[in-house]
């Protein structure tokens, strides 16, 4: 961080700092969710689209429902892993 920016930050009031920290937290949460969506899209594209030749740019109905199911089952998987790990403690 350049000294100019650092000097500027000292101009922030306490209310501004609080505000900024809240915004930062929200942005960070948004980023986490976005990254999960990227990861899920990658996984579900491989499951639902890859392996067959791509003939047009529209998702077929079966590909659409495959994508939805893929996300739901991935989350189920995560839940059951956590549940099992908790029971093993």
């Amino acid at each position: 961080m350049d000294p100019q920016t650092q000097m500027d930050i000292s101009n922030l009031s306490e209310a501004d700092k609080k505000d900024l920290s809240q915004i930062l937290q929200n942005e960070s949460q948004k980023t986490t969710i976005q990254q999960s969506v990227h990861q899920l899209s990658d996984i579900c594209f491989k499951k639902c689209i890859a392996g067959r030749p791509i003939t047009d740019g529209a998702l077929s109905r079966s590909e659409e429902s495959c994508a939805e199911n893929c996300v739901q089952r991935w989350m189920d998987t995560q839940t059951s892993i956590i549940t099992k790990l908790q029971s093993m403690r």
């Binding site: 961080m1 350049d2 100019q4 920016t5 500027d8 930050i9 101009n11 922030l12 009031s13 501004d16 505000d19 900024l20 915004i23 930062l24 942005e27 948004k30 980023t31 969710i33 976005q34 990254q35 999960s36 969506v37 990227h38 899920l40 899209s41 990658d42 579900c44 594209f45 491989k46 639902c48 689209i49 890859a50 791509i54 003939t55 047009d56 740019g57 529209a58 998702l59 590909e63 659409e64 994508a67 939805e68 893929c70 996300v71 739901q72 989350m75």
Partner: protein, 97 residues
């Protein structure tokens, strides 16, 4: 400090709220950049796999057509993933409450 050096010669912000707005703007810009970079990376990887099984000396029109369709498909799938994931997160949160 900016990752993608927004070299615009904007006047140096003075007041606290100017500084705040500047930080928030830069944060959001970098976040959007990062989001786009990830999307491009994933599309590149998946559509290269799907459309170019045997790279030739040039890209055929069939291959570039496939890339374009694949990209459309990927973006639609991304939107479905996003919608499904976020609604599931909401359900889980309600269940926990």
């Amino acid at each position: 400090m900016s990752l993608f050096g927004s070299g615009s010669a904007s006047p140096v912000p003075k007041s606290g709220s100017d500084v705040k707005a500047g930080i928030v703007q830069q944060l959001q810009q970098e976040s959007a950049m990062n989001n786009a970079r990830l999307l491009i990376e994933k599309i590149n990887e998946n559509c290269f796999d799907a459309c170019i099984p045997a790279p030739g000396s040039t890209m055929s029109s069939q291959e570039s057509g496939c890339i374009s369709s694949c990209m459309d498909k990927y973006i639609q799938l991304w939107n479905i993933s996003s919608k499904t994931y976020i609604s599931r997160l909401g359900q889980e949160q309600k269940r926990m409450a």
